[in-house]
Symmetry: C2
Subunit: 182 residues, 2 copies
């Protein structure tokens, strides 16, 4: 069987290929930010069991973070820190809403999503300050975990009290009033 491809036809094919490549690159550079997991959470929690809101409030809740082999060299001296910040991808989140109801006493309260810790965010990024118990063979043993088993981990940072732990009476007051740990 023969298929005729004229020079004109070849130009069209070339044009489609270039367009395709252009769109892909355009999306990557302009609109999309692409990350790769550096590790994964292991915890006793699943969507079925649920996970505690802001697990640091339940310090006995233990879990581990498995750092993938290619990143384990980057853990050197991590064990010097008592608290670390974990940034992870809430991979079970399907959609997001503009508003959320904080777990407050007043059921009429509705807050803008960015004024809450609801997981249903446009970019479902989880953030937790957890206690680091031990580092062994590329595993971080932590307490205060509120993530599901299998949650992809994006970054680990040391917790620096002078910049991460600011004092704010105003935030303390609103936190107490609204119980914004969602």
């Amino acid at each position: 069987m023969k298929i005729r491809v004229t020079n004109y036809g070849k130009l069209i094919i070339l044009f489609i290929l270039c367009l395709n490549a252009g769109i892909m690159n355009g999306q990557d550079i302009i609109q999309q930010i692409v990350y790769k997991p550096i590790g994964v959470f292991h915890s006793p929690y699943s969507p079925e069991t649920g996970a505690p809101r802001q697990g640091i409030l339940i310090p006995e809740g233990n879990g581990t973070i498995e750092i993938y082999p290619e990143y384990q060299r980057a853990l050197k001296n991590m064990e010097l820190f008592e608290y670390i910040i974990v940034i992870y991808h809430l991979d079970k989140v399907q959609k997001w809403n503009h508003t959320a109801k904080p777990p407050a006493s007043n059921p009429d309260y509705k807050f803008g999503l960015f004024a809450t810790r609801s997981p249903n965010r446009p970019n479902p990024i989880g953030l937790a300050t957890v206690k680091l118990e031990k580092v062994e063979n590329g595993m971080l043993y932590v307490s205060g975990v509120d993530a599901f088993e299998g949650t992809p981990v994006l970054d680990i940072k040391p917790y620096l009290p002078s910049v991460d732990g600011v004092k704010s009476i105003q935030n303390e007051m609103i936190e107490k009033e609204l119980g914004l740990h969602d």
Copy 2:
């Protein structure tokens, strides 16, 4: 001009197309996490001027976060908080290293990347607790910014002292010793 494409050849082309589509989807689903900016930082800093390490230590450094129109409804009640946490994409970062030297007195110190705040991370995610001065027309006026002009913003969260601002003498000590604000 004619090009012969046998049935066998057509099968090969079909196979390559399917493989291509499969790889693309596989990367998206399994390996890659894709986010879209919800806004952008405006600040007086650029790669040429440099930016302060952990800008919160220079509270007079002011900037704004422009939230894109489709996300502005999610800012409701944001102004109740004195401090907010901003998660952003360090889009100028080109590569990462397994280790980094903290800005310490001893030039021999080498720390694993995850035990530092160096921007050269596998997933270059920036994290800053900043003071919120005002919210107006989808703009957050903040002080304590350490991001470059044009930095894409991924998420905003309220700063909750009880979970985000833990007390840790150990972290305070190591922070003082090493000046880990890089």
